[in-house]
Symmetry: C2
Subunit: 193 residues, 2 copies
DNA sequence: ACGTAAATGGAAGTCGAATTCCGGTTCCGG
DNA sequence: CCGGAACCGGAATTCGACTTCCATTTACGT
């Protein structure tokens, strides 16, 4: 029962002052853009500039570059989890699963750079265990899909995670996500003897 | 007719003295190991230590960290090209192609870290056009394979390259290269309507 | 409108890692 | 076995990026 009490990047304190909150969002948005195009070693100053903010402001919101990355990762993971949850709830697991994969490929393609960075461990480094919820829910989904024959029986959650890492890397090279979604779906399907 | 005259990392000069050559190899081997396990931001000093050599020696052979990476990349590309050439020469293109993929997955898995680093552009950054020969020969191979139906007709060389990037990323997460080779092969196969 | 706590920006400090330098050591032809 | 050119090691330097700091400005309750 490890209640993962990850210290939020924007701790508790009290409510932010009106415009401070606005700046925080500006920074987050800028960070997404810059990391996405420049990769994980983009410079803090560049992010600050893009957000029309001084580096000081940036550091008041996120004590560290890693913390900033972690927050982006956390948000991304949350979206993923919500989508997986949705698929689990769907009465037609196979169809929902396929839809989820297409959606995921599209999302990854949209900001491929960032996904690639996040994939190269960063999130899990800063908030250990941040991936666990996603992994658990994905396991549930896979268990529901397996009986339909849409995936090979020996495919584990870890294999699936590895596929996602690969997909994200591939999509940072090409923009043809539909093709890659197709190929991933076909590749995971049980081989006909 | 761009005769890619890439300046070799170990220029021409004259022949190296007996033991200097030995050290050069030691460094290359150490670099492969260290980059492979530590990723692209491994430290030069660590490589030197692993090679039982001072950093000075390291820098005499490779003027820059990038140059060192580039040399590793060049060697890797050469191996790849040789293998592709072999597959082209094979009378049974489909079988040869599949064998090549399995072999590639195994190689990538063997030193996944390094492949991942090289995939994140580095080589092409230092010796622009270093990839071209591989791409050209791969295109030839694909042209020979397509008629056999082993790959979907719309798969371009660039798509294939992207798949390789994805594969290498996936294999830096898992060690089950056989599964991934299977899935890639299945994914590339033409979809049955 | 005023006072004050909250927020700002960007110059300056810090620190880690790449690269340089050179006095000492090792090969190798004669 | 000698001389000197080629090579070596690793301390010292350089450089670039993150992070800190504080004088100044801004938002907002009264």
């Amino acid at each position: 029962m490890t209640t993962t009490a990850v210290p939020p990047a924007a701790p508790v304190g009290r409510a932010l002052r009106g415009d401070a909150a606005r700046n925080r969002e500006r920074v987050l948005a800028a960070a997404r853009e810059v990391f996405s195009s420049e990769g994980g070693d983009a410079q803090m100053e560049q992010i600050a500039k893009r957000a029309c903010v001084g580096v000081g402001t940036l550091y008041r919101n996120f004590p560290t570059k890693q913390a900033l990355l972690a927050e982006l990762g956390r948000q991304f993971l949350d979206e993923r989890i919500a989508l997986v949850e949705e698929a689990i709830a769907d009465p037609d697991p196979a169809a929902a699963f396929e839809r989820l994969l297409r959606r995921t490929a599209a999302d990854m393609s949209a900001n491929a750079g960032l996904c690639h960075v996040l994939g190269d461990l960063q999130v899990d480094q800063v908030c250990p265990g941040a991936f666990l919820p996603l992994v658990h829910r994905t396991a549930v989904l896979l268990d529901r899909v397996r009986p339909t024959g849409a995936i090979r029986p020996d495919l584990t959650v870890d294999d699936f995670q590895a596929i996602m890492v690969g997909l994200s890397a591939a999509l940072s090279t090409t923009s043809n996500w539909e093709l890659f979604a197709d190929m991933v779906i076909a590749g995971m399907r049980a081989p006909r003897d």
